[in-house]
Amino acid sequence: MLSNFLSNYRSVTSLAFIVLAAVLVEFFEVRASIYPSLLPFFEWLKYSSWIGYLGITYGSVYATVQAGHLIAMAIIGGTVLVTDLRLLGVLLKDIPSESITKGTHQCFKYGLSVAIATGIFCAAGVADKVYYMPVFWIKMLALLAGSGFMFFIKQPLLNSRPHSEIGPWTLRLLAVASIFIWFTVAATGRWIGFS
């Protein structure tokens, strides 16, 4: 019976496992015990890695890569807003939402890849600063949650059947959660820049 449940509710079981793991990590203070051991890596990233060296030494290179990071973030924001506002019935109502979600997801994947690659470079230049910033870790958590939500929850559901067969409130909930989490990624990113 348990194996039948697990095979029928694989996504729900995985989600419950992830939530339980997060609660246990906090309860047993695993995060707090790992945190100090990450400092040498961040110091190496800034002072010894070639991307840290490039970022510190050449301001023009740092600015150029950061421009790429902002453009990639703009692509992510654009694709998320178009998709989710369509799911909410605000934008592009004459185009089927299935076409929009499939089309924008390709663009989203490229934007996310560029944002992560350029983001590692940007973080390397200020690695010893961001290590001590709680908002940096909030951003990383939001990015991880947002990516997992997009690739393992939202897109599989939207691609699985016509959207008319999905409950309208489920679609709205998905859209609002998606907008909110990518807003948090963007806002915390700018917060790092202004700290």
């Binding site: 729900v12 989600l15 939001a142 929850i153 999905i166 409950g167 489920t170 909930l173 998905l174």
Partner: protein, 55 residues
Amino acid sequence: MNNSKWDDRTIAAASSSVIILGALLYYWAGEVQSTVELLELAYGSFKFFNNPMIF
């Protein structure tokens, strides 16, 4: 089971959306609260649209 309205993917989507929204609302409400406390500490009171630079 997979043909029902509340199948695996739908339940996972709805519950993860609720978890994400709850966590983010909790986080941003905490940030608003700490900002208000900081403003009260700095200026004695907090009012909407008060500009501390104008006396």
